[in-house]
């Protein structure tokens, strides 16, 4: 009964189509002539942590950026196929990417705090979307977000200091807190822990686990251990293809594809 695969199999049965948060079909991404994402079909579930793994340059970040249309800002990027969020095609002309991104938040691979105070960094999103009615509510959101980003204790005495004055790892947690502050339904995290020490990493993983109760989280990671620890689903990308997608426990204990097996055992990538 303690076999993780059996437990997962039981949860699997309980799923119905309502639990699919994002449905991607036949997605292609081109950067100019470079075909970076090829025929990707994937269903990302609600209230689940999904890990994207794969060797460097295989298109994990690219696919992640498709989900909140961040690739719109890259002139040479071209996207084909269909991505549905709650059944709505996000590339439909009637969809406003600004509203989409309010629902699908993102933490980037490199920390990018605004050159504003720590407080204003966090308050930025809530202010834009009018999440706080007054200063007290805003203060509350800022404190809650910083706590969830596991950085409150380090910055609570210097909320007026510029966000850029923090260390790299602190900046990354600030960016996580900033993304959480807008209460997105889906949080996309691109290697959020690559600049963090083990303690901060553990705190962020705790946060991810906590977010799972309400949101769908997609995390790109190069750490197999992290993928195994935090995610329920894992997608393995290789050279722009989605090679294998399934329960994390299956991918790590019983990969179906030989490329997945070589990657998780450290032979490619």
């Amino acid at each position: 009964m303690n076999d993780p695969r059996q437990i997962s199999a039981q949860t699997e049965k309980a799923l119905d189509s309502n639990d699919i948060k994002i449905r991607a079909r036949d997605v292609q991404v081109y950067y100019g002539d470079n075909h970076a994402i090829k025929d990707v079909d994937v269903d990302i579930l609600d209230k689940t942590v999904t890990a994207f793994i794969g060797p460097s340059g295989c298109g994990k970040s690219t696919f992640l950026r498709c989900i909140n249309r961040m690739n719109d800002t890259i002139d040479i990027a071209r996207i084909e196929g269909e991505i549905l969020l709650d059944g709505q095609d996000i590339y439909d002309p009637s969809i406003d990417p600004v509203q989409l991104r309010a629902k699908v938040g993102m933490v980037f691979q490199k920390p990018n705090p605004f050159p504003k105070s720590i407080y204003d960094n966090i308050a930025y999103g809530p202010r834009i979307h009018g999440l706080a009615r007054n200063r007290a509510e805003l203060d509350e959101i800022v404190e809650k977000s910083l706590r969830r980003g596991a950085i409150w204790d380090e910055v609570k005495d210097r909320l007026d200091a510029p966000g850029t004055s923090l260390s790299g790892g602190q900046q990354q947690r600030l960016c996580i807190a900033r993304a959480v502050a807008t209460e997105p339904e889906v949080l996309l995290m691109d290697e959020p822990c690559s600049a963090l020490d083990p303690i901060a990493t553990a705190q962020v993983e705790e946060l991810i686990d906590e977010l799972r109760a309400r949101y769908s989280v997609v995390i790109v990671t190069h750490s197999m251990q992290q993928a195994a620890r935090v995610s329920q689903r894992t997608a393995f990308f290789h050279l722009g293809n989605l090679v294998e997608y399934g329960l994390t426990s299956d991918i790590f204990t019983n990969p179906r594809d030989s490329r997945t097996e070589s990657y998780i055992t450290g032979r490619i990538g």
Partner: protein, 458 residues
Amino acid sequence: MLGTTFVVILALSAGWYFLLRRRAMAAAGPRLADLHSRPSYHGFYAALGSFLAGTAVLLVVGIGWGLWNDMQLQNQIGQALPESSAIERQLVLSDAKAVADGALPSRSGELRSAVAERHATLETARQWGTAALALAAALAFGLLAWRRSDRDFRARNRTERMVTIVLWATAAIAVLTTLGIVLSLIFETANFFSNIGWRIDKFLFGTTWSPLSGVQSGQMNPDKVGAVPLFAGTFLITLIAMIVAVPIGLMAAIYLADFASPRTRSVVKPMLEILAGIPTVVYGFFAAITVAPFIRQSGEALGISVASESALAAGVVMGIMIIPFISSLSDDVINAVPQSLRDGSYGLGATKAETIRQVVLPSALPGIVSAVLLGVSRAVGETMIVVMAAGQGANLTLNPLEAVTTVTVQIVMLITGDTEASTAAGPAFTLGFTLFCITLLMNIIALRIVRRYRELYD
């Protein structure tokens, strides 16, 4: 003669280069790597050293010997004309030199021909002597290098030290020139102030500018050197120029950096920068011949009386001239704001407008401010447009439709006017010095801001 010597020194050092390089290679023996310095460094050391030694001797001895000769000729003249004034003696000397060079003297006479003869002998000695000494120095340095050059000789370190000294010297020249200009400005300014009995307050706060009226003996009337109208004029025109240039330049920069496609940008940006390449004289007569009449006619149509030369015309055209400074610099700083910051903002669901207003512009603000300050410096120092389009009358007014004058215009008037240069120079230098202080202050502020901006992303 001395020119030829210089060429010979050049050839000599080139020769030393090849000789020393050969020698170093020979000294190395079978393994070239045993040399402390590469053979070309041995060559460079000898070449650079002998060139510097020769040129330095050429300059120092050549000039010093010339001064010494002049002193001797002065003595000779002094003995012949013991009662004469310094200016008279100088006149005799320059006439004598003209005679010796075969040019036409202002007057001729026995004394002049005698001095000319003496000058010719002294000059020949100076030229041959200087040439010989310079060549000797260049040769001697090469020989020294030849004797020292062996396997362990640290030719590289010595060459590097020599190059450092040369670089230092060139930097020193730039700094000393600046210092010299500033000192002469200060000196002339002090001179002028002592001329008006140290009534600095009259200069700074007086409202009548007519410094040369009734000047006879170089003594000026402190009541007529009030520079306020000039600074008010400069201020007014600068203000108009910035009102034109800042919004247009800044918005053009935002368009170029965040909205234009790369194709548009690659066409529009160079076109804007062409504006900066138009000579200010052209802007000046554009202002005087096209813009000023247009403004006057428009004014008449509206029933407003407009002077034919107005601050408005000059200011508007100056603003157009400054647009590319502001747009180009601002575009650069806006572009320097990392894409990742914009992504961060978009990723939180911000619109393009929110991103530009709340993330991009604040990040670029220090750079934009310094671009604006550089634009202000340009406007304050600009002369040509104002000379042609704003008039010369020192009116104290803030009405942009009247003729005003600026600090720079008055400097031009003073220096190119009929009054003797030594009299007019005083107020002109003082105005120049004040202007210099203002622009210096602004440039310092701009540089400060730029420096702080650089630290932001490090």
